[in-house]
Symmetry: C2
Subunit: 417 residues, 2 copies
């Protein structure tokens, strides 16, 4: 469908679709709008008491919070303005009978899920929702997405690695379980970014690396001539996302002038889930989430309360040296339940945590996040350096993801996709 | 499409579509969820400082505000859960090629527009947006709606009344102006309810009367066998709306335990615009807005600042008598511009305002809202009685609207839709 609007660029055989050019222009526009709007909105957020103290600074100034909602609105408006473009060719035909409603509904459903998550995130920032709301509301928000997947693709077959396919055949149809997996993907993506957060610029940077990786992946696939339509759909959503997020990053980077809020994390997670599901590359999206997955697995003992979890697990700031130290949790091994003791023993043996035991048996050990783990490795560190380290880790993981996706996948699988 | 899922009820020839029964069940569920959720959310709103003082009460207690967002979320979730139902028949067919994507996209686009307005309304409640944002954001939010209208109907022909059709023909195609009209309809509906507000229960009551009128109109049309599909679409959206709004009304009625906020007004306005546009009866929807239109026209001199407009135009509360009095605006006729003087002279001559002029030439006259006008007619009045009076007026106007829509329309037009 999209191919019919191609422009021959520079008189060569490489053709750039016109909608993509418009999309790039809109994305650049989104960046500039964000850049000028965010600083002007700051006082509005401060007077609405949407603000928090930056714990890792000497000044303890109040920083406006939840600015992700501005980015979200700019992103949504960009998509609103863009949607008609890829369908222009179908509009100009006199016969609207042939209008590709099935492609159109993908855009609308994508925007609906993203809009719902912005609303949920903003409500969370303002009202401090309970944990369980954060789990079931993304599931509900992904329902239209799953319906579109059902009506447009309904492919619930997964291709098996060679080692398994000897016994079970090339592929297996997991049916409804595939929908459960996609619903959980939305919940995972929205929350995974949210728990790897808390130092200046980390939320925006990790999201930008993931988004950039998705764009590179899409371009590679388009240039190699595979499934053009779906990867173009993904690009049309990712580029405005990157444009509006870059503007937010500009003010969120160290030292932060604004905080992004849960709004931004939810919106980002849902955007990645949306392109993964409707673009048919949800497993590849998950590969770009390796640091978040590691952080989640590492956090499990605290998230599920096997090990006591303080309300905040951010690194501890030392105003004298301006450096961040590990934050700690304290407990007695005797007070832990069986799972807690097992986790503690395993993590300790694998040297994933560092503990000190006082004479009266109170164990003091670092909180289970990869942010604290990074500080274990480096020693006390400045906030901007810590952020840079974690971003480099995210980039390295993305490169690793590409290595798995391309060369290694050919080793494990007979066919890709 | 919907007809294929009908149930023969009670063995008679009257058939009730199964989706409608499910929709009614979901709407009743929405009511009960709202009824139990709203009081439990109150403290959350109070601690987020989303609260306001009820100016028309002696106690001056803080009342949680913007609870419309809870109603909005319940309404959205109801729609999310309902969407698959009317398409069940198409799912079970093995051939998804024939899936009615065009009907499906109507639901998704409707929900997208409504979700955007909830987000905008909530952002307005929290951040106090500027006036112009309230005008252009609903326009943007209605874009997907207009695109769906374009791809599914693209009928921009309006039928002319007999008196004009002698000269211009039976109908005239107004082309792109029809889209401008629909975009403005969304802006009008969202803001019209917002400016007829300010006394306990008025927002919810007027919305319920309008919603009820739409439901009655849809049922009449369905029973008379006209355009079944579109009116069913409207019912599927209006019934969950009524269910969730009734729960809100229970706590918003005099004396209010919660305030609804701009969120509710925007959400309601957009819901009415959505069913009007996609159900093809936008002019009939406008007929149910007669009190809001009268209020808007009456307010024009103040809205456009021809006459000085204080920030709030609510009636003035007298704690001694527990009665509401007209609120007033003060100005010197000499300070008004030409339009202001014309408006003032016309309104005064038509006895639409009551003024007193002091010796030094300062005119003191009631604010230009039909709420104040009602108090002019009745004299000082208790808040709940004033609300009842305005609701009765809304009901009378709806009856009048039906009178125009049915008997009178046959007199003016040769054919009805």
């Amino acid at each position: 469908m999209f191919n019919s609007f191609e422009l021959r660029a520079f008189g060569t055989s490489t053709s750039i679709p016109l909608p993509l050019l418009v999309n790039v222009a809109i994305s650049v526009g989104a960046y500039y709008v964000g850049q000028s709007l965010i600083p002007r909105m700051k006082t509005m957020f401060l007077s609405a008491n949407l603000a928090g103290v930056d714990m890792n600074k000497k000044s303890k100034a109040k920083i406006p919070e939840a600015l992700g909602v501005v980015t979200g609105c700019i992103f949504l408006v960009s998509l609103f303005l863009f949607i008609p473009v890829p369908f222009m060719g179908s509009f100009s035909k006199n016969d609207l009978e042939e209008f590709p409603h099935d492609k159109f509904v993908e855009f609308i459903a994508a925007m609906l899920s993203i809009c719902c998550m912005i609303l949920l995130g903003f409500a969370d920032d303002v009202l401090n929702l309970r944990w369980r709301d954060k789990l079931y509301l993304p599931t509900v928000a992904s329902l239209p997405l799953l319906m579109v997947y059902y009506t447009n693709f309904n492919s619930t077959t997964i291709i098996l690695p060679r080692i398994v396919s000897q016994f079970l055949g090339m592929s297996v149809n997991i049916g409804v379980l595939y929908y459960v997996y996609m619903g959980m993907l939305a919940v995972f993506c929205t929350n995974a970014i949210n728990i790897l957060a808390g130092i200046n610029g980390l939320e925006t940077c990790q999201s930008l690396v993931i988004a950039g990786s998705i764009v590179v992946f899409n371009l590679v696939e388009i240039l190699s001539g595979r499934c053009r339509e779906e990867y173009e759909f993904s690009l049309y959503i990712m580029l405005p996302y990157i444009g509006s997020t870059l503007a937010l990053w500009k003010y969120n980077r160290y030292p932060s002038q604004v905080f992004v809020g849960d709004t931004f994390n939810y919106l980002s997670g849902m955007t990645f889930a949306v392109v993964g599901i409707l673009g048919h590359f949800s497993k590849t999206v998950l590969l770009f989430f390796i640091p978040q997955i590691i952080n989640f697995v590492y956090s499990v003992p605290q998230l599920f309360r096997f090990i006591p979890c303080p309300r905040h697990r951010l690194p501890k700031y030392d105003p004298a040296s301006d450096l961040l130290h590990c934050s700690k949790t304290q407990f007695r091994v005797g007070d832990l339940n069986v799972l807690g003791r097992v986790c503690f023993a395993v993590f300790r043996t694998l040297r994933l945590i560092r503990c000190e035991e006082s004479e009266d048996g109170v164990v003091s050990c670092n909180n289970f996040t990869i942010i604290n783990f990074a500080i274990l490795l480096t020693g006390p560190i400045r906030e901007d350096r810590l952020n840079r380290l974690l971003v480099v880790f995210q980039v390295v993981c993305s490169l690793f993801a590409f290595a798995i996706r391309y060369p290694l996948a050919h080793y494990f699988y007979d066919t890709i996709n």
